[in-house]
Symmetry: C2
């Protein structure tokens, strides 16, 4: 061992001990004939004192930042204590030292506030990983991993590894494929998730399975997507939705406790998908704050069970873009005194292409009970008051109203709500709010192909009350314009998402376990019998031999870690991430391969 202690270990109790440390030179400070060096390792920083004698040796063997140094010395009390670090009471009076390795001057400073840009830090990721800010993330990731494993172990889950070289069954996302040399002309695929394997394990009777496992999707990368990502993947047998919700809110609460020291004792709120869309305009609402949507006028097709507050005619004026538009509002608390400039800036914000609205209507609910709005000339004060009441405002609020086609407007008001929440400081990264979103639609309509696609995946079961609807109706959509009237449009799934601070951190479902229903599902997704057999014959086969009722969930591990770490970027929580083109710039991968390799695989390039 090159050391007797770590650089984070020595305390006042160790004074007088002869010790050996090894680590990296963080800083060098010369004071006349003596030198102070901060030595850093994974565990902390310890101050080294090089007296006059050794200083001469240092001059002959000059050190630099990031040199790897081993020192022998004695622990002494510091005259000038540093309260900011655990080793701040002591320093090492060095008696001898060895330079274990030299270092070039790093291309950026190894500090929390580094001067290195993103590209440079990625190219030298091994140096970036030395920074405390990054190390904390990697350590947090391990703490989450460990906490999840402990909880699942205590609850009788068993970690079972599923294969990485599997069969390509593209459905939704694209597979990464791997040419097989030994089976020429054939390919493996890398798993998008272990979904079918964990279901087979339930058929095999393993009852409670988990895995913290890499998954792969060859999608066009958006910011903060990775071609390989990690899931906490779980499945249980003989359970109903309620059992899953309880088990896995327990998991997340345990992680809060172990990793953040937070006692999340509240019951996790639950909301249906429909209510989430109605109240928040999206299916992963941030419930750290209210500011719910006021549905002044909306498309009844989307929310058949809801009633309009007002006749559509009331909003048939130019600022709302004419009749037939949805008119959605939020009441921003205590902002009635926004200036013209502030309102103008918000108007520009909603008109940005990312939001895509034509304009913004406002009503200031003044503290004196009067109203001031951008639509004063169209409405009487009584009408404005009626809108304000519908929007559940109180004096001092600012009502912001967007109008237009239902889907786009709902999305926009949702984004405006989040933006206002952020501006008002209502989205505190140290506050954690969980939410279950339930009762998703089973199907989504795919316009281009005029058919149904699975909203979650093809193994999700419909609500028991909807099974007959599914079995007894043809999935064919005769009239594309009226797809919302097809019986399949209203089938709800036994599916659930867990949302944390407005991010989907996990999702799952109770699965189909009956062969006939699974076949009906495949058929609904436009898969003929031959295709079903080719892609999922093994699963349909397994369902013939006593498949138990089962369900599960998968958590996005990278995302969960990022949120717990108070970051928006998952890349910060991955040791060796890829950039937005799927490249590892440190390795310079992917790269071309030898002709010999291509020959052995019996493939060739076919560049367009």
């Amino acid at each position: 061992m090159f050391r007797t202690h770590t650089c984070g270990e020595l305390r006042i109790e160790n004074i007088g001990q002869q010790i050996t440390l090894a680590g990296w030179v963080q800083t060098i400070r010369k004071f006349g004939a003596i030198t102070f060096i901060d030595l850093r390792d994974r565990y902390g920083i310890t101050q080294l004192l090089f007296g006059e004698e050794l200083n001469k040796q240092l001059e002959e063997n000059p050190l630099g930042r990031e040199y790897v140094l081993q020192v022998n010395g004695i622990v002494n009390e510091r005259s000038n204590k540093n309260k900011n670090i655990p080793t701040g009471d002591i320093e090492i009076t060095v008696s001898s030292f060895t330079i274990l390795n030299k270092s070039e001057v790093p291309p950026f400073t190894i500090q929390d506030d580094t001067d290195g840009g993103d590209d440079l830090r990625m190219k030298f990721r091994y140096l970036d990983l030395r920074r405390n800010a990054v190390k904390r993330n990697i350590e947090l990731r391990y703490a989450v991993n460990r906490s999840a494993r402990n909880y699942l172990h205590e609850n009788n889950f068993i970690d079972i590894e599923t294969p990485f070289l599997i069969k390509s069954t593209p459905e939704g996302a694209r597979d990464f494929v791997v040419p097989s040399r030994m089976n020429e002309g054939e390919f493996y695929a890398l798993p998008q998730s272990p979904q079918t394997f964990k279901q087979l394990l339930m058929v095999s009777g393993y009852d409670r399975y988990f895995q913290i496992v890499k998954c792969f999707r060859d999608e066009d990368l958006r910011a903060d997507r990775q071609p390989e990502f990690t899931q906490i993947d779980c499945e249980m047998s003989f359970v109903e939705q309620e059992d899953i919700l309880n088990m896995f809110e327990g998991l997340v609460k345990r992680i809060f406790k172990d990793v953040k020291g937070i006692n999340y004792s509240d019951a996790v709120e639950r909301i249906t998908w429909e209510e989430a869309m109605w109240q928040y305009g999206n299916d992963k609402p941030d419930t750290r704050f209210g500011m719910k949507i006021c549905n002044l006028v909306f498309d009844k097709n989307m929310f058949p069970s809801k009633e309009n507050f007002f006749d559509a005619e009331m909003f048939d004026i130019p600022p709302f873009g004419g009749k037939g538009a949805s008119v959605l509002a939020i009441a921003v608390p205590n902002c009635s005194e926004y200036t013209r400039k502030q309102i103008d800036e918000l108007t520009e914000w909603v008109k940005r292409p990312q939001v895509g609205m034509k304009g913004l209507v406002f009503i200031k609910c003044n503290t004196d009970g009067t109203f001031k709005s951008s639509i004063d000339k169209f409405y009487t004060p009584e009408q404005l008051k009626a809108i304000a009441e519908a929007a559940n405002t109180k004096a001092g609020d600012l009502i912001l109203i967007l109008a237009g086609a239902e889907e786009r407007t709902r999305k926009a008001i949702s984004e405006l709500r989040l933006e206002m929440g952020k501006r008002l400081g209502l989205r505190n990264e140290n506050e954690f709010k969980l939410l279950w979103v339930l009762d998703f639609p089973l199907f989504e309509y795919a316009e281009e192909e005029n058919r149904w696609v699975a909203r979650h995946h093809p193994f999700t079961s419909p609500k028991p009350s909807d099974i007959d609807t599914m079995i007894n109706n043809s999935p064919v959509i005769e009239n594309a314009a009226e797809y919302l009237k097809h019986p399949y449009a209203n089938i709800k799934a036994n599916a659930y998402d867990m949302v944390l601070n407005g991010n989907e951190i996990g999702g799952g479902s109770i699965r189909i376990y009956q062969k006939a229903l699974q076949q009906k599902m495949f058929e609904a997704l436009g898969m003929n019998e031959e295709e079903q057999q080719h892609k999922f014959g093994f699963l349909l086969g397994a369902f013939e031999y006593g498949a138990p009722p089962h369900g599960g969930i998968a958590f996005g591990f990278d995302r969960l870690c990022a949120i717990l770490g108070g970051s928006e970027s998952i890349r910060d929580f991955i040791a060796f991430p890829k950039n937005n083109s799927g490249r590892d710039v440190m390795l310079d991968a992917p790269s071309s391969i030898d002709e010999k390799q291509l020959n052995e695989l019996q493939i060739k390039l076919d560049l367009k």
Copy 2:
């Protein structure tokens, strides 16, 4: 929840309780008007009693093997107790039942002694996994995983995930490659191990890393090799070989304790590679028994430090194949009374192509002090006695002698030793004997290319005393016939293998951490500077910025589990293994993929 208890849970204390169970029908036994059913789940088996009333319902809804059944009932004491199962004291008097799912008759019986052949069981792996014999293995695998994680966690190791989509740097084994759609004409590779990443993590200061991780090698599969396999992969900084040996024999001992209840308190024996070859004829000797090799005559080039017992001339007789042959013996204890037939059978055994010897010479050391041998006519009794003494025999032993070219003969005598150990019952699968093999050669000679290849991998450091030899000599081999005289032939590596019962379960080394030495190593392996930069530029770069001394080890997780489970086959310990052609016969993977997928990847088939 479909149950209140599991099928392994109920005991005499539960008598009188109203319970609900769910599981699979293992057996159905009718006795007149009543029926007994054994219900099985992951946790055990519970006997169900269907009385007369329910029997009628059973007749209307007949059950079969592997049906999924839910029952309500009361726990009662059994009149006829079954001592073989933990639930054997009780049975459930069923009050109502629900068939949760039906089952076809399985293609083989779900029992320890199944009637299913290998192919059938692999095709229906989800049924095979139900068998207790397989379930035990999967559970043992998880227990090993859990034990290793706990030990490593307690010793400050941190699990850090390394990427799966990396750069192809074929060196030794072939990479599996993954065409990149977003970077046309380029490929990722799947990692053969996280070797360079864990070294980078040491450069980054993470100090103690581990991962239980899938690795991939596209090799021609021998029996019991898998294209994807799992390693317990570890690395430590600021350590010397001794630290690694201590830490990781601790790991294996902990696994013995947690998984097998074995207190392995002995120090782990150590042997150099040279002594292992000398004494056992291979580098992973089974030390559960002695029967060491007697090196009567051998090739001095292979063991320069050893002396021959006899002049080669002594064995220059036809049974030994003439002068210049190595003559190697083992003394098989207490077998001097082997019959002619037994000796003939052994002779046939060594002549099999897998062993490849021309014949077998024997000397019986009779209990009366006389000798009887197949070479009586060539030697005096005194000469036989001299051989017997050299071979360290005692009266009653049987000396078996093989002769021929050094390498082949040593391999053959090693196999003969293992075979005799097995026949004599000296290789008990419940006895566990660990061994460290140390001081491997750094290089191996590649005859076809007349150059050096890395015996372990190119990151293994030479022994400190051999560094100068390596730096100061050219790797070029001028005279291929005399490669053993090249200075590189004697360079020893800072490498170690852990051997358990004759199987290599782990291997590692202290790594090179100096850029110049790493470059010299690459050069020795025939890699020019451009190639070095292209393949390993990131590592050479990392070594410029303060790389610490470090080393590590990787355990073959599948193999370790198999040995602990008393099996020779790793496939039995993998949930979804591939067959010897790398196929998953359950999934029918690999398979052809759509033309559309090939187009998107800009590759095409090029079948020969």
